[in-house]
Symmetry: D2
Subunit: 123 residues, 4 copies
């Protein structure tokens, strides 16, 4: 049986999806304001993408190591609302579907992001 990492397309598949997720966030009216300042700092966007890829890879059974900050630390001081959290989930789910990720893997990712909710919202 495949690992979730494999079902997400391994490093290459995850990286392509993270590109599209960031793009979706920039077009999502609920959360785009959070990302607009980064447009002037492409190196910061690249760093965020790298951390996100490693986080997803490590969390789905891949060989990568996540070296970024903890979830609460990453979102500290942002006071992310439920509406913003849902917007992120919507973008992730939409991109996974577009990339042909099967329903079982999408369910796994939904469950993982739900489990992380308490470390993301209102930090």
């Amino acid at each position: 049986m495949n690992t979730l990492y494999e079902n997400l397309g391994s490093a290459t598949g995850i990286s392509k999806m993270v590109d599209d997720i960031v793009e979706a966030h920039l077009n999502n009216p609920v959360i785009r304001a959070r990302f607009l300042p980064y447009l002037e700092k492409p190196e910061r966007v690249a760093e965020i993408k790298k951390h996100t890829c490693d986080f997803l890879a490590a969390g789905s059974g891949g060989p990568e190591t996540y070296t970024g900050r903890s979830m609460p630390e990453t979102h500290r001081g942002m006071n992310i609302s439920e509406a913003e959290y849902m917007a992120v989930i919507d973008d992730i789910m939409g991109v996974m579907e577009k990339h042909g990720i099967d329903e079982s893997a999408r369910k796994d990712v939904l469950a993982i992001t739900y489990a992380l909710k308490g470390e993301i919202i209102h930090q």
Copy 2:
């Protein structure tokens, strides 16, 4: 392999969980205001519980028939926010865990409630 209906404890298990979910909603500061007026109308609470049981049963592969209104119709005019939707999910997830529902069935329910989101929020 069991159906989701069986994994949720069939009619009896679902009914007990719906009792606890309504109880949890009444204690959840984010959504309790929506339910307080019903405390004076126990017959309305009984009706809501009945519809919820049938909806869950029918949607999880049970023999029950759901005769209530459609999801958008049920929530029409309520303008339910993302925070309220998340509060409902939290109560459902917490009750399922308390009732010993296994992870796979909880994932299924999370995915079903996520799929229904567009028919619940901001109607």
Copy 3:
């Protein structure tokens, strides 16, 4: 010195503004969902407008008597969010400006609606 009632245009002025405020609410994406069900019940809209006129008139020093329910009772079970409350204020302020109500009277209305916030939000 004029009363606030007079500065709002007395019964006629208030009534015209209430018409425009309800119209603005129906076009405001944050709150229109709350009002859409009323479109099928014009007599309910007429009643809401009548109560709103009387409430504003009585509260601004006019001779009208408000016979509707109390603020908390009116909003009971609605769980109105801060965003919805702000949308209502925005519509009221915009209509008052459009109707040429002077700054001092608009300030008074803003202060009154702010004072009522606790009886409107999350009831």
Copy 4:
């Protein structure tokens, strides 16, 4: 007739209120998460207080000059919600009342903060 600046207690009065407002924000569950990271950076808190004092003083007719960033620039990337904005207003109004600021001056401040809303929310 006094200026708003004088009605707010001039530089000394404004400075004392800003201290109390920041304290109130740190105890307000809706927005405290935004301010917690600053607790480790007292020099940053001092800078925010200084800018806030100058902003209020300059905006109320005092001789101070505001040298901080523009409102949209200050809130850029924060995606402040309506609920957070209302929490800030509540803290400001509560502190002004505690400091014995008269109703007319409180109304002026409410109107000013309302006028700034579009430069604060969802930037």
